[in-house]
Amino acid sequence: MRLAHDGKISQVASTITYKQIRNDLNRYEVGLLLSIGLGLTGSVIALARLRRVAGAISKLVVFSNAVAAGDYRRRIKIKNDYKLALLGDRLNELARSLMRNQRILEEQAEMVAGMLSATRTTSYSSDVDECGKAIAKALCSYAGASDVCVYLKNDDAALVTAGRSGRRIGADGKRIAVHVADCGEYVILAENEKDGESGGHLVGVPLSDRGKILGTIVARFGKELTREQIALGSPRADILGAFALQSAAALSNIDLRERAAEHSATLDEWSQHTAALLQVMSAISPACEIDEALDALTKAAASALKTTGCAILLPDVQNRLTPRACYGKACKPEEILSYRVSQQAYNEKRWVSFDNGRESTDDAHRDECTLYEIGGLLAAPLIINDEAIGAITIFDAKPRKFSSADGDLLMSIALHAAVVLRKAEIFTTESTVAQTLQRSLVSSVPKTCRGVQFCGRYTCGAKDVRVGGDFYDVTPLPDGCVAVAMADVSGKGLNAAIHLAASKYMLKALARAYPKDPAAVLKALNEAINDCFEQNFFITLFHGVIDPEDRSLIFANAGHPPGIITNKAGGMHSCLLGGGIPLGTGWPHSYENYTAKLSHGDILLLYTDGVTDAIKDGERLELEGLHKMLFEIGPCSGDMLVSKLMLRLDSECGLDGRDDVAALTVMLEERAETFENKPIAVQYQRVAD
């Protein structure tokens, strides 16, 4: 087949002749024979050659297999063939290179493993110095450094040594550390030869955590390591960088842990401080009186600071502190030398302490502390508005070094206690004045006056309200009669006592001015209070005039609970109704006089609303409850009646506090006899022979 020029395949088989085929065969045979001859000769030669090459190749194969299996120490030597010998040399070169690289890798792996181990060590370190030392040691042990120094920034951003291994780094190292800490870069500095030692390199690696540079690792590498081996980008440099990052993280964690621990300790301290303070405040807050508050404070302060004694000292007129309240064994109520420390705290307005009084350089003080068993002492001033009002001093029988926390706690206690003490002092002063006033006002009822017996009882309201506004009064009048009054002044405390005093003595004067006209007394008193006090308070008042001769009672009432006359047998009560508005409301008012007769044995009971407002079985006693209580008490004398009434009110209603309670009985004297008489109902007489 051949291709026609037009690209078409044409059938030529029919055109090839036999002759042409024969000629072609003859030419092929000659060539073939020549080729065979030449081939045989060449083959012989080649075979000889191949035998030498094949041996060399076989050695090369064995060698390459051994190298591939990791035997980098094996070497090959081929002599017969130059090129194969060259190949063998190259393979030997390769094996050496592989062996070197393997050693490098092993070294690096060892370094990495060491660094990892060191990282764990640094991570587990509990403080910065320990961690710094671990970093330095790890670099010397695993990274090939001969000397390492770890620098960290302190709170002032200055570098301080946190750990070192090997020799000192020297001034160059410190300069590198400062530079690296500033720029955060990896730095290499070649060291000059000195002291006969060939110079190595100093490497500075930044300790950086989350972008913040904490410090620098400066490592010295000996001359056995080339600059390239430690240059940036080398595996060693990478490992150093990675280790520095881990170390920085570990250092940062340690710092955080330390700060957290510090905060936790601070919080614990604050918590204890606050708890102790609360304990003291809750102990002294309920106290109203100054002495009560002082006693509570000494006990609570000694307990809060776990000491054996406490004293409160207050200044006298010469501004000299004298003990006012004492608690505990070591505390002495008299003036002792140890209180000089209290005086110092008071004068300087700061806490002062000594650890062991028995080691005092002052002989007298030492003897005193030995005698009184005073070891440690801590004193703090009581301050209000920057003014010292006294000092609190705590004692310990044993030597004790008071910490600044103890001092601060005592200062806090003193600051809070000073406020409570000042209030208690004010309260006590006011209460004492008011009580003195009221005692003089209330308790002046005579037992008898012109043949009339009186018996009064007064109970204050709540414990913290020492002064009430109830009063009763008896005034002998010029005409032989006796005026009796029961009143309740609005308000509490000193103001109520002042109003009470004013009302009482105006009433006394007016009662003498209008001896037979209680209504006129009330009218004039109402006007006087309205004019003088401008509705600052009001007062309910029962005012009566008893004529012992005819046993008559004239009374007027200004909004006060009605008086009750109990009969001799105690079984019937007459209520003295009638009256007008309370006094002092600002309105003029004309009151009316009412009359009643006091029979033999009758008792007039006057009282304040504290009686009828008393709570019994959850309900107000009211007037009805009072009637029943009086019936249950039964017949008795006036003083017994008022005593029993108050006792029953206290036991059944609990006079604990909501209001003052006052009660007064009035009884004509000639009937103060026994109540054993029995009425005769029927007497019959019988006619007999």
Binding site: P562, G571, L577, P679, Q685, R686, V687
Partner: protein, 267 residues
């Protein structure tokens, strides 16, 4: 015990010949004539009858007023004497005792002269403004001893207001009955029971209100008493209605409350 507090003085009484020629017994009512003393009178009359006197004379001169219990005791005594054939009469009878006997229809039985039954009158021109009234309040433990004392206290108020004569007598009778009723029916068994009395007086009228703590009752259901039937109770309301000008009952205060008015001036 309440009865132990009473003392009875029994002694021989030499009957003067000119006053009582034959053997007779004389009983003197010394004090208030309450339920207890009424019982004592009945038993005393019974024991005297055993001595067969010709006559029993009950001197009531020392008592000003008598209530329905006392009236009943006198009636029982009179009937027992009649049954035993013994004479019975009252001496020194006060106007009030005679009046309650008359109101009750017992004048004849007790040997008293008849009296007029009072008429209920209504006044329309009384000034009831508060300021004209005087108010008094009494509270008593519900006991027999308190009945008379409380009545006297209230009556004193009426007297002070100007009541006198038959009006005062009527007030005494009605108050006595009301308080006795409060005591008898207005007391519960538990604790102390109170009787509360409030009275208001002016020149024209006497107004009183009596409260007890007893169970409520319907006063209209109480029948008019028959003097010949000796019932223990039942005359009080009848007597009150016939002695006072206004008698009203109300309840739940928490017990019963009776309010009565007596006009002190005539039409």
């Amino acid at each position: 015990m309440k009865t132990n507090r009473l003392q009875f003085n029994i002694s021989a009484w030499p009957i003067s010949q000119q006053a009582v020629p034959n053997k007779s017994a004389r009983l003197v009512i010394q004090d208030d004539f309450s339920q207890v003393s009424a019982d004592v009178l009945a038993s005393s009359v019974q024991s005297i009858i055993a001595d067969c006197p010709n006559e029993i004379i009950v001197d009531v001169g020392k008592i000003d007023v008598i209530d329905s219990s006392g009236l009943r005791a006198l009636l029982v005594a009179a009937q027992r004497c009649s049954a035993a054939g013994i004479g019975f009469r009252l001496e020194n009878v006060s106007a009030c005792v005679a009046r309650i006997a008359g109101i009750s229809g017992l004048s004849e039985i007790l040997g008293l002269s008849e009296c007029d039954v009072p008429k209920i009158s209504i006044k329309h021109d009384i000034d009831l403004r508060q300021e004209n009234w005087k108010t008094q309040q009494f509270v008593a433990e519900s006991s027999a001893q308190m009945v008379g004392e409380m009545r006297d206290k209230i009556v004193a108020q009426a007297r002070e207001a100007g009541a006198s004569g038959i009006k005062l007598c009527d007030i005494k009778i009605a108050i006595g009955e009301a308080i006795a009723n409060a005591f008898r029916h207005g007391s519960t068994d538990s604790g102390i029971n109170l009787i509360r009395v409030k009275c208001r007086t002016c020149k024209e009228a006497f107004w009183v209100e009596i409260e007890d703590e007893g169970e409520t009752f319907d006063p209209d259901s109480v029948p008019e008493p028959d003097p010949n039937i000796l019932k223990d109770h039942g005359m009080g309301i009848y007597i009150m209605r016939h002695t006072m000008d206004v008698v009203e009952y109300s309840f739940n205060h928490p017990g019963n409350r009776v309010r009565m008015v007596k006009w002190l001036v005539d039409d």
